[in-house]
Subunit: 323 residues, 2 copies
Amino acid sequence: MEIVKTLFVQASKAYNSNISHQLLCLDLVKYCLSKLETEAKYQFFGNFAGRAPVPYSVFQGTGNSRPVRSDLFFEKEAPFFEAYSRLVNRLQTGQSPWSTADETEANRVIYTAVMSVACCFDIWQRNSRKTPGTFFEVFIAGLLKLAFPLATLSKHIPLLDILEDSESGRPALASELLDEDEKGSVATDIVIGTSSRRGGVVLPLKITTRERIVQPFAHQRILDSAFGRGVYQSLIVCISETQLDEKSRSVKQVCVPGTIKLYQKYLAPIGGLYYCDVPQRYAQDDVAKVLPVRSLGQLFADIRLALEKLNATKSAEEAGPGL
Amino acid sequence: MEIVKTLFVQASKAYNSNISHQLLCLDLVKYCLSKLETEAKYQFFGNFAGRAPVPYSVFQGTGNSRPVRSDLFFEKEAPFFEAYSRLVNRLQTGQSPWSTADETEANRVIYTAVMSVACCFDIWQRNSRKTPGTFFEVFIAGLLKLAFPLATLSKHIPLLDILEDSESGRPALASELLDEDEKGSVATDIVIGTSSRRGGVVLPLKITTRERIVQPFAHQRILDSAFGRGVYQSLIVCISETQLDEKSRSVKQVCVPGTIKLYQKYLAPIGGLYYCDVPQRYAQDDVAKVLPVRSLGQLFADIRLALEKLNATKSAEEAGPGL
């Protein structure tokens, strides 16, 4: 795992320094795929007992990896890289619209890249719980740079800055009373916008949401309150909501449709919820009626639309803050 | 610890069955105080290096308990019960206003009760992380019943019900697609109101807030959106924000003033933040300017005021939902 960790650090350091990092991500994925192929056993684990059963496999080392959908995962390096090249080509040429096959392929590429790294950490470095999520962010950021070369890509909006804008006179703190405001919990993930005006598409990235689902809705509410509605739009980007049940040798899709509807209606509306492995429950009409739930293959076209829409509305600066 | 656990289960079961449970809580506190006195060592641990240093002690068994402020903690059973009796008397007679000494005493009683149980779990049952928080809720509920015998006390508002009110036609779910909406994350803690009308004082109870501080603000926002402002008012009720630093033999007060100001201003305003051990940072003017931070001894009078204010405003039913 030392090599995996080194490759990961290289990719994320490059990303943080705004150096082109997508090739470093690919080095890591390539190494992880080959490590899984040679050092782990890949086999069927169990079904998700949905309306149509969904088969899941796991990589086995000293323990099981998280569940993997074989129909979305490229086990072999060669087909992964071929699909990746086609995806990059589509992103760079701005091809539009994509066929369903194009969307499926994009979805598989992202799923494979993120899951190959995550499964290595599951099996060989279980205590690094946050690393797969960070890689997810770094990898998606790389694709976004290819797809939207003219857009500005910010790593996050530090929401505390909203406050400080309007609060010129902060008290001089005694050094022993240091504030411990954790940037993470009050900063969004990636934001794509245009340099000419305030606003953009906010992309909260979470491999699975679990009890942290309140965060992106709360952030959207804060952005709406501070800048007015329609200036920032959030699209929540996830991989899956699966959980292994070792006892019953089955896989659960952990869904909280009521919570999502509640937040969407009474906290702040977000623009969509994206998954590589869309949970069946979220694909049902009652959820889709409240907010769009789509595959990650559809994300890039939807970001493009959202950016066009945001640009078409009045400039946030003209309209002034909507307090 | 078997006796501690049995006494705790008795108290919380009685509470959940709406049987008078305050005496069962006292049995537990009494047992915990005597167990700590006879089986643990109580000694000075270190200071919080604030503007005025705050000394903290710990109970020591196989490990250290959380930090305890000796000036707020009754080590001996007798003075605790004397102070408790006086508090109950003040609550039941509706004495008003309280002197500063009365408030300090109430604060000490609650601190001692909650910390005696929490420290026993810290030392002898570390894996039961949630139990001290549950006892905090159960104990405060008992005091509220004494103080507001005519008010209705609900264990929580299940926020998902707001949604279901307006959603008559839920889809018939295939049994395999069970929703896993966790009631906890979308339900408030204790609510005090009057039976005659909708609305009341919501009391989110957390021994320490940490990263869960977003929850009560998000809940307040949902209540404001669903019922209009001023129908429900939240008062966040905590014990302390302390953290042991074993290396430096000191105690930290973990504070996120920026986050709180941000949520207060842009998510939803809450009525106040209450602590037994008020963190120095939160007592500073810049925070107090944005939301009142007070001691738990002041909570009961403030709830009374808030209830009167809510009753004085137009009935929520008359005004209709403020969507």
